[in-house]
Symmetry: C2
Subunit: 170 residues, 2 copies
């Protein structure tokens, strides 16, 4: 099931990329520089938009990399424009495309740690459920909320993306 989540995170990054496209179009239509959105915040002591997008990218990338023990590309957090953020998102999507379901074998029992945990560890299962997944949605949703707060015309369908629905009985 980790791979199903992997695919869902990849899908959500694609949605995020689309919101940034809408933000750029909307800024053009309203006659302002879209890059002013990059430093927008919901609270003065909370991450700005650029940090929310970077963190969404990192939680997806590192969530996959840590559970599969596959090296991930480095991203030095230097983005200052919407276009640079879109390039970063697409770089992470490309990385995730190179990870297969088989790479997740043994993910649940893998021992995970990060420098922030001061020597402590989590199982892959706990790390994914308690840390990577909620953090991913936290940052993706904050990016969405910031755009919505600034008048960008995104809606719930842009958030969820395509749904796998079929006719009843088929």
């Amino acid at each position: 099931m980790y791979y199903a989540f992997h695919c869902q995170m990849k899908k959500m990054l694609g949605q995020l990329d689309g919101w940034l496209g809408k933000a750029a179009d909307d800024a053009k239509a309203r006659g302002f520089d879209p890059n002013v959105l990059v430093e927008s915040r919901l609270a003065p002591d909370q991450f700005s938009f650029v940090r929310q997008v970077q963190a969404a990218c990192d939680t997806a990338k590192l969530g996959s990399s840590r559970l599969t023990a596959k090296d991930a590309p480095s991203h030095p957090d230097t983005e200052t424009t919407i276009e640079e953020l879109r390039t970063r998102i697409r770089s992470v999507i490309a990385y995730l495309e190179g990870v297969s379901e088989a790479d997740y074998a043994g993910a649940a029992t893998r021992v995970i740690t990060t420098p922030r945990w001061e020597g402590k560890v989590m199982s892959g299962a706990d790390y994914f459920m308690e840390h990577a997944l909620p953090n991913f949605f936290f940052h993706v949703t904050h990016a969405y909320a910031l755009l919505r707060h600034n008048g960008v015309p995104v809606g719930k369908r842009d958030y969820l993306g395509a749904q796998t629905r079929r006719e009843a009985g088929s």
Copy 2:
């Protein structure tokens, strides 16, 4: 694994209940009625705080109810105060406590539909991954973002809650 998510959603609702407690305390300390937060919004055409909390409760409750085919309690969306919202959250947590791992047997292949889907259906697996889970985090995170935007002193630890960490090698 659906049950692991069930437990994570139940945990996140407990966190949400705690944020509302902090919001009430903060309003008291700053000398305003905490219930003004109930109608706060990030955008004029987006759900207010009360709707975000109600939707977070419903996505958790209905996500569980639909995947397990167990009846869920009805909540008529009449809350107008922080305390009433906390009561609702606790009611959903109590409902989720009555659902066991065994109740999720066959969840992935269950046929799910809602009146909004105009006769179309989703598999339990697709419904959970593409609809229930992202919607749950969407509304929980918007509730958090609205409190943060209004100066309530919640932080990332309040969002994530307790993490299952252990000493390396233990």
